[in-house]
């Protein structure tokens, strides 16, 4: 999963400008930003492809007219829709997706059929995927993690990078987590804070917490919201 663009991220054009003429401020930003590091990696990859293929294109610089494969436009459509989702604030209250309206954390389960919003103790089958929506009420930094019956912690969102996601308003977070075949209870945690917390702090606070008792977790400077899932075939 790719880390989401933050409000501080330079535009794509500014990142391209930085590649042509290094800009110290941009370099500093990239050093601390998972999204821009991902951007840089894919830019390097595309440059390698360009270096490989460009001589051939140059030899045939003439617009080719081939019918567009059907699926080609669907991918940018997906990227644009995902970005739009990310920016959509406070969807209409009558929205049927809000099965747990008012909650700070909503876990959507997708697999066979239409995605559903999990209720507390919802059964989840192996192979089903989870997506997360948070509503911290104001701008906040968010980590999504899970704890299993042994107290082991898994980091879910953001999956990579060193900083939590910056969220403002109600947002369906990018990316998803797919469940493996393990059985038993699993508790999903959203940890929301005004100031960005490091993953180490969050992990330490959740490590070993009893899966069925959500009252024992206290993280200074952060609020939490949680949903308990029961894993395994019904």
């Amino acid at each position: 999963m790719n880390a989401a663009r933050t409000a501080q991220c330079p535009s794509d054009l500014a990142l391209e400008e930085h590649l042509l003429h290094a800009n110290p401020a941009t370099a500093r930003h990239i050093a601390g930003c998972a999204h821009c590091q991902t951007w840089e990696r894919s830019a390097a990859e595309a440059s390698r492809a360009f270096a490989r293929e460009n001589p051939r294109w140059m030899a045939t610089t003439q617009a080719r007219s081939r019918p567009l494969p059907r699926w080609a436009p669907l991918l940018p459509a997906a990227a644009l829709a995902a970005a739009a989702l990310f920016f959509l604030r406070s969807p209409p209250p009558e929205s049927p997706l809000y099965a747990t309206k008012g909650e700070e954390l909503t876990v959507y389960i997708g697999g066979q059929g239409a995605p559903r919003a999990a209720t507390q103790g919802e059964r989840v089958r192996p192979g089903e995927a989870l997506r997360f929506q948070v509503a911290p009420g104001a701008a906040a930094f968010v980590w999504i993690a899970s704890v299993d019956s042994t107290g082991a912690v898994s980091r879910l969102v953001p999956a990579e990078g060193t900083t939590p996601l910056a969220v403002d308003g109600t947002q369906l977070l990018p990316g998803s987590a797919v469940l493996d075949a393990a059985e038993g209870p699993e508790r999903i945690w959203a940890v929301m804070s005004r100031e960005p917390l490091s993953w180490a702090v969050v992990e330490q606070a959740l490590q070993g917490s009893p899966v069925r008792d959500s009252t024992t977790v206290q993280i200074p400077g952060a609020r939490t919201a949680t949903v308990l899932l029961e894993r395994g075939a019904p």
């Binding site: 400008e17 140059m58 494969p69 699926w71 669907l74 829709a81 739009a84 209409p92 997708g110």
Partner: protein, 161 residues
Amino acid sequence: MRDGDALSEVCRRLGPAIYRRCLKILRNPDEAADACQKVYMQLVRHRSRLPPEPEQLRWVYVVATRVCFAQLRDDAWETASGAELNHDAPAPTDSFAEVADRQMALKALSCATEHERMVAWLVLVDGHSQEEAAELLSLSRKTVGKRIQLFLANARRGVFE
């Protein structure tokens, strides 16, 4: 300067950026190569009127954006039905997130015009401010604001209904 010289000089310097721009929007190396060549053609056509070097990246960025969105013709955004997605998508893993996003995307985008999509892309995906997007596309700030609003209204209808 002969066409070939103009082309090779600019391509040496800006080619990778042009290709990355096309690949980011089109997501497919062959499509991106096609679009790249169209941008090269425009460079050749405008060779006597190119902006000074420091502004050339910005120029090709805008040209590449327009070329890519023109390549994604309206009907291509709208023709595929949800059922076709799973068969036609090249993604090796049709994860829930991808399929869900694509289904939402089709709904959200079917009502948008090419210009709404391009403006939305610059602001929502590329991270430009509305002012920058207006400047890049030579539109008024008000027009850009209106197009974003329209796009998001459509997206919201498509996604949350």
